[in-house]
Structure formats: C-alpha cells, structure tokens
Symmetry: C2
Subunit: 333 residues, 2 copies
DNA sequence: CTGAAAGCGCTTACAG
DNA sequence: CTGAAAGCGCTTACAG
C-alpha cells in the first residue's frame, strides 16, 4: 500500500507538506502543491482513514440502530439518513436490533470502542431496558421515532404521535363515524390516546374493548386484528390502524367480510409508507415527515459531535399530517 | 478516555501484558491476568478499535452495497448478512446505491481508504460501469445476486436465474397455459430466457411482444405492466412477473380487469419476499435461497480476507425453488 | 511556506 | 511468563 511518506519522497517534500496539501488547513506554495498532487496521481495514493481516525479521534462514521429494515418505514428512514450523512462525509454503520435487547446490547458494546462518532437509535423498543449501558457511551446518542416515555438523558427527535392519532380520529369523527375500532401494535399507546381524544370532544368514547392488538406488525397481523374487530362489533364503520402494514391487512379482512371500503367501512392508517400508496383503495393515512426527522436527528448528532460534552437534552416534536385518499368516506346512515 | 496504559499502571504491569491478557495469544500467569481483569473492570476500560485496526490492518468491518433497502428482497438479505457477520465479529457499513453509478463511485472511493476489510456488492446495476474502480480496490470484493454477465475478476455467489425463470415457465406450461405474458424489469433478461425455454419444449414461443416492462420496480409499476399486457392480449391466461412486487400490482390489475385469480388468470412471481406471503390470493412464486446466498457470500468474503491476494475467481450458483400457492391454476378450457 | 518532533492507542516480534 | 522497542499512517502544534 502506498503511504503519505511515499508520496512525499516522490514529490521531494516531507509528509507534513503532503498532509497540508490534502487538508488545505495550511497554505502551500502552488508549485509544491502541484508536485504533490502529481505524485498522488502517479502513485494512486489514497489516505488511510484508520490512521487519520486515530490521529484525529474521529471516524467519520455514525451508528444507526433500527428494529428492522424489512418494511418501508425504517427502510425509507435509512435512505434519508444516508443522504444527509453523505452530505457531511459520514459513513453509516447499521445494526438492526430485531427488538432483541440482548442483540442491541452486544452491538452497543462493540460500538463503545470509539469506532463510531455518534449513534442514532430509531424506534422505541426493548432497548430502553439497556439504556444504562448507553449512559457509559463515549459518543453522543440521539433518539428518534420514539413514542414511549423519552429518557431525558438524550436529545430526542420524534413525531407528535398524540397529534397523529388525533388527526386520524378527528377525520373519522368528522365523517360522522360513531362506532369505531382500533388495530394496534402494543407500543402505540400514544397514538391510540390521541385517537381517543378526538372523540371525547363529542362526548363519545373509544373503550378499551374496541382496541384490537395485532399478533405481529405485518399485513397478516392486521388481517387477524381486523377480522377480530369486525366479528366482535359488526356495527363498526371505521377502523384506525396504528401502522400502515396493519391497515393493509385490514383492507383484505374487509374484502373477505364482504364490506367494501370506503362505502361500508372506512380505514385510516399511519406512517404513509410506500406500500400503501399503491394499495387499492389508496389508503387514507397519517403522514410522518420521515425526511425531516432524519435530517433533524442527524443534525442534532453532528452538532453533538462538534461540541462534545455539552449534550443537550432537547425534545423535538415534528408534526404529522393527514393524507386523505380513497379508503375513508362518510358513515353510512 | 481510559487507555491500555492506564490499565497497565493500575495492575502494576506493562501494557503489553494487558494486550496479552486481552488477546489470549500469549499465556499470562493467572494471578497477573486476574489483576489485569480487575483493573479493566474498575476503570471500565474498552479497547480502542481504531488503534487496534491501525496496528493489525483489519477493521473488522465489511461494506455492503445494495441498490435499495426499500422492498423486502434486499432488506431480508441485509438481515441475513448481518447475522452471519455477527457470528464472525464483523460490523456492517451500508451503502444503498439507488442504481446511481455516480453515487456508488463516490462511496467506493470512500471505502478504498482501507476502512473496510472487504466489500459485498449485491444486485447488478449501473455499478458494472464502475468496475474499473473496483479493480483498484485494496480489499477483496464479492458479488452476489448478480444476474447479468458476471465480471470474472471477482467471486460471484448468485442464483441460477435461468433455472428460476424455467421453473416458473414449466409450472405454467404444465398447467396447460399456452398464451402467456411476462411482466419484467429491464435487468431480468436471464429469467425471461429461462421462462421462454420452458415453452420451446412444446414448440411454443413467447414472443418479445409478450414481454411488458414495468416503468418502475414497484406494485404500481407491475399494475401498469399487467394492465398493458391484458389490454394487448386479452386471451392471455397466465402472467410471469420477474419480481414479486410486480406480481402484487398484477393481482390488482387482474381485479380491476374483472379477472379472478387463479380461475381466469394465473400469476407467478419471483423472489418469495415477505409481502407476497400475505397477498390474497397467496402468490405462487420462485423462491430464492437468500439466507444461503448471504451465508455463502460472506464466507467467500471472509476467506478472501484471510488469505488475501489469492482472490479466487469462482462462480457459485444457488438453486431456486418453485413455491406453489394459490395464484396459479389450470388454464381454463 | 516547509520541516523536525511527538503522539493517537494499540500489536507484534524479540529479549530476557 | 513479562518487559523494552519499534511501528501501523496519519495529524497537530511549533520552529524556522
């Protein structure tokens, strides 16, 4: 491998001068710089980033924890994160936790060895049990897409999930629906709360019995939950799925139950992932500003890297938006 | 940050001894080792991986290029790769190329600085134009899920795509279908070829006009392609989608065209991704051994890392399998 | 504007 | 079984 020293010898300077040419931190006489550049090209030199990292203390890499990469939500988030990172010359070290705390713990231990400059944790899950370990982290940590209680050691960039649920509920209520059910994932309590609030304004309630939990966060899980909901209360005219994937299953369940959407049944999702944009009928859903969330989170992270030590304890809430498509309509009767 | 030197002082030894305790390469007297371990615990020492990398020349990180992470195919592949990597103590640096050669080139340039031990490139695409750069790579490169001509500089672990297409075709042909169409992505020529071969045995042909290219690799793209196919030849009784996502769109298109699947129209997909396992009707598809492919590719990579220099030029073909579900049936009439 | 020196935190032979 | 030395390839003050 060709080193900075090799380039220096070839150009008839010392390696410090080569370093100066490369970094641009110190002015170098044009003629010298040109000789150095020529030597670099001739030798095909590329700097050794590992050596640079050791000297500077920065790896130009950030770690990203996500529960999974299957399913559009996190996949889209990752690509956004990558884009922002690239603008800043950072690389991405990925770890999917699979909702497995032990797995996350092992990876965290690996990262703790200063091989990343910072860590972004997306999605609340079992990880919360392992935050003690995070407290020892030698690098800044930022949390995003966090729905449950946000630990106040770390900056959080997330969505106003309560409002997200509220927007879904208000839309449904304004369409005249009175008997509704919720298809949910266990960790989506805040969205459900917001959804409920939209109804209390009218003196209505969404009882706990109207909330049906999906066995798994997949269309199949949503199918099951929706089938259960419709069987339990056939008079239900609207469904709120706290997750788009669940809504996809709900659309199938409605079809099997012989109820057409939106004439006999309205369905609202949450996330606005790519897959629902092509569902039939196209899904009305609450859109999450993923791009904005990724950008804000990474910027928090980069800020924290620069002025290390002064970890700010901020909570940033991004606003969701209702996207009305074809799966919701006025309540029959 | 606490360093090996700190641990050594605390334990009353030199840092080499600490290094020996940690690596286990050299025997250390139990009493000494115990003192060292105690010091490590008390100080909360974790080794600096960057320094270790500089000394050893290995970063214990591999790079992975995928076209995208949205959509199950690559997402599932990534999680498999991660699993295998973890068994070997490696980290994953991810780069989604978005089929953008320039983007891939930039990332490759970044990696070339020896910050990864090896690179796995999954999915053939514009990258092929940038292979010249790859030739300069200082680390082993392995290709996987490669359908087009496989450049013979690098080991390739891929699927027998010709056979995959053939399996889909044979199934369709055996069900008695004679008028068929193909919904394809541009880079899936090999699958289409295999599909065709299944028909030539019976003296049938699948003309180029029966191949409909999807404007994009999404359900929406599949929808469009299927709608075009059915409009062009209403007598078609079976559809082969070279991509499961396209098949999903085809299912919708059939529904809109008033053709029930599989009674009026059979649909076969390719990939066996998670989303099609919950489609209704459940999709008959060609299953790709993703887990096996990930495992073999990573093992090739690790082997190449160990005995560097002797890059083997092997082509490993994994066999696909037909999975019959509900979307295919005998040709009507 | 350029060079000599020290250091980042580890590992790897090599003596003792 | 333990320690002294050199080196991995860079950067960062500091002189000149």
């Amino acid at each position: 491998m060709v080193t900075m020293q090799d380039v220096a010898e070839r150009a008839g300077v010392t390696k410090q001068t080569v370093s100066n040419v490369l970094s641009g931190r110190v002015a170098v006489r044009p003629a010298t710089a040109a000789r150095v550049r020529a030597a670099i090209d001739e030798l095909g030199y590329t700097p050794n980033l590992v050596a640079r990292s050791l000297a500077t203390g920065s790896t130009k890499t950030i770690g990203l924890f996500v529960p999974t990469v299957v399913g559009s939500f996190y996949a889209e988030l990752i690509e956004e994160v990558e884009d922002v990172l690239e603008e800043h010359g950072y690389h991405l070290l990925l770890c999917t936790t699979r909702l497995d705390g032990e797995r996350a713990r092992r990876h965290l231990a690996g990262l703790t060895s200063r091989s990343v400059d910072a860590l972004l944790i997306a999605g609340d899950n079992d990880l919360i049990d392992h935050l003690p370990l995070l407290a020892d982290a030698r690098f800044p940590v930022v949390l995003c897409a966090w729905e449950t209680e946000t630990p106040d050691r770390f900056p959080v960039v997330t969505i106003d999930y309560e409002r997200a649920g509220y927007l879904a509920g208000r839309h449904i209520r304004e369409l005249g629906h009175r008997k509704v059910a919720v298809l949910a994932s266990p960790s989506h309590a805040v969205r459900i709360e917001g959804f409920r609030r939209a109804f209390t304004a009218d003196g209505l309630t969404v009882p706990e019995s109207a909330v049906h939990y999906a066995p798994e966060p997949t269309p199949a899980g949503g199918f099951e939950a929706a089938a259960a909901a419709l069987a339990a209360s056939p008079e239900v005219t609207a469904l709120f799925a706290t997750h788009d994937v669940l809504a996809l299953g709900a659309l199938e369940a409605a079809r099997e139950a012989g109820r057409s959407v939106p004439q006999d049944l309205s369905v609202v999702g949450h996330d606005d992932t790519l897959e629902v944009q092509v569902a039939r009928p196209a899904l009305t859903t609450v859109s999450i500003p993923k791009r904005e969330m990724a950008r804000q989170a990474i910027e928090q992270l980069l800020r924290a890297i620069t002025r290390s030590g002064t970890q700010t304890n901020s909570l940033q809430l991004l606003r969701p938006e209702l996207v009305v498509r074809e799966s919701t309509g006025p309540a029959a009767g």
